[in-house]
Amino acid sequence: MKILVPVRRVPNPDVKVRLMKDGSGIDTEGVNFLLNPFDEFAIEQAAQIVESSEGEVVLVSVGGADCEETLRAGLAVGGTRGWLVETDATLDSADVATLLAAVYKEESPDLVIAGKQSVDTDNNQAAQMLAAKLGLPQACFAYKVELGDGKATVEREIDGGLEVKEVDLPAVITADLRLNQPRYAALPQIMKAKRKEIKKSSPAELGVELASRTKVLGLIEPEARAAGQIVGSVDELVEKLKNEAKVL
């Protein structure tokens, strides 16, 4: 089985971002970039499927030359080979989905598994758009994936519980947090990943003209909360909640 896994380079989500003074973007000085955490679950799922049968896990990333580093990180935790669609253009999710659809058509995989959202823009869009553009069914926010004869049964994390959905293959699945436990990159795998094949193409080579219909005019700081107070005891806390905040 050939599985296509889109991966994204994101600023470290555990570090609070700083905005540029003119609001034109975030200050990336000194910020390290990582493989999007949700993509690790997607790669792990794909790797487990391929290891239990056979096939390959093709990682694809869309973005600047630095994304090669992200692809290498993914190749060390289960990816077989990589594909970098290299562009410095500012892309929205619709552009990403269009580029991924072009790669999909070249690769003809049996399945696409993606992370449910990237943790920088929090869009949660590209995989669903990709499915729609390709006329494929989708199963988002997967908690459990079982592959059967030409179909997949997916338990999805939804508000209030789980939903079970069956989709014909090929399909697009997105990974949620509890899908699996991603592996750590072992040193031999990191070394091996350095030699794995990464194909590079430009959007033009894929025959894609970017529409870029989303324009971020600027970023502003959210309103800060007023400073709070430290209370000395549970009694004081209950008293303040009752009489000051009036929420008890």
Binding site: P13, V15, V17, L19, I26, F38, S93, A94, K116, Q117, V119, D120, D122, N123, N124, Q125, Q128, M129, L130, A131, A132, K133, P137, C140, F141, Y143, E155, E157, D159, G160, G161, L162, E163, V164, K165, E166, V167, A171, L177, R178, A211, R213, T214, K215, V216, L217, L219, I220, E221, P222, A226, G228, Q229, I230, V234, D235, L237, V238, L241, V247
Partner: protein, 318 residues
């Protein structure tokens, strides 16, 4: 030129998030100078459409055939695409719930449009509507414009107070369409059974973090929740340890909540958790580490071990 609100139904019931989307549609309608319609698709769609006719919509469309009876992105996306094509909507919006997040990007893909997730506000710009949305776990608010033919968006429920029935009399019409080959089937819901209110509807939430430690600590949080009539939440760490189900997770990748009172128990206040609760009206933090970042967003902080403070709190509020 008008707005389409996509209502959310599950098992013949209207989900309350829909009222926040209607409220958002009214705000957008003011800015863009237009009215709105509603689409209620799913089993019980006709009854829900009837329930929604007092909220100021032009027309409430419903569809309740077998193909759309249970929600799938494939069927509901195809139906919404047909309605948008038929009526020529300029704006389409749904709640940023797990259903809206599943459906709206698919609809955008079907229509070959871009979209905006988690809209919290909008204002008039030079060439059209400027939307506000959080990014980077809520550490930045982006001002965004779309330049396609249709502006599609999900709306953050907590940013809009639910619309009220204003006694209007919208038209109610059935709308069905050929949905094509769907390649997907809904099998079943496995809903988490709980007597407590749901996270996104509760006015009080008490959340467990790593400092709650174990099943015993979770049981204490549950007792507090029951005493307060509160919903229970959790940080990702507690979900990862398997102590509570994932749908209790509050944070950037879980639920975004804004109750009147949020009590964070043993939660350190990681960026991704704070993103999900910092718009709560009153925040209480109980944590034994006085350096914990949760105290930066708390209105009332108590530096204490949760096992002891939680037990005392339970006694005091009985």
């Amino acid at each position: 030129m008008s707005i389409l609100v996509i209502a959310e139904l599950r098992e013949s019931e209207l989900k309350s998030a829909t009222f926040s989307v209607i409220a958002a549609a009214k705000v957008l309608g003011e800015v863009a100078g237009c009215g709105f319609d509603i689409l209620a698709a799913g089993a019980g769609g006709a009854a829900v459409a009837d329930q929604l006719k007092g909220y100021g919509a032009g027309t409430v469309y419903f569809s309740e055939g077998a193909e759309v009876a249970d929600y799938t992105a494939e069927a509901h996306g195809a139906l919404a695409k047909a309605l948008v094509g038929d009526k020529g909507y300029k704006y389409v919006m749904a709640a940023a719930t797990t259903t809206g997040k599943d459906l709206m990007p698919r609809l955008a893909g079907l229509l070959d449009e871009a979209m905006i997730s988690d809209v919290i506000g909008c204002e008039k710009g030079d060439g059209g509507v400027v939307y506000l949305r959080p990014m980077y776990a809520g550490n930045a608010i982006a001002k965004v414009v779309l330049s396609g033919n249709v502006d599609l968006m999900t709306v953050r429920e907590t940013a809009f107070d639910p619309a009220q029935d204003e006694g209007s009399a919208s038209g109610v019409e059935q709308f069905d369409a050929d949905l094509g080959e769907l390649k997907a089937r809904f099998i079943e819901f496995r809903l988490t059974k709980s007597d407590r209110p749901s996270l996104t509807e509760a006015s009080v939430i008490i959340s467990a973090g790593r400092g709650v430690k174990d099943a015993e600590g979770i049981a204490l949080v549950e007792k507090l929740a029951d005493q307060l009539g509160a919903a229970m939440g959790a940080s990702r760490a507690v979900v990862d340890e398997g102590l509570v189900p994932n749908d209790l997770q509050v944070g950037q990748t879980g639920k975004i909540v804004a109750p009147d009172l949020y009590i964070a128990c043993g939660i350190s206040g990681a960026i991704q958790h704070v993103a999900g609760m910092k718009d709560s009206k009153v925040i209480v933090a109980i944590n034994k580490d006085e350096e914990a970042p949760i105290f930066e967003v708390a209105d009332y902080g108590l530096v204490a071990d949760f096992a002891k403070a939680g037990a005392e709190l339970l006694e005091k509020i009985k």
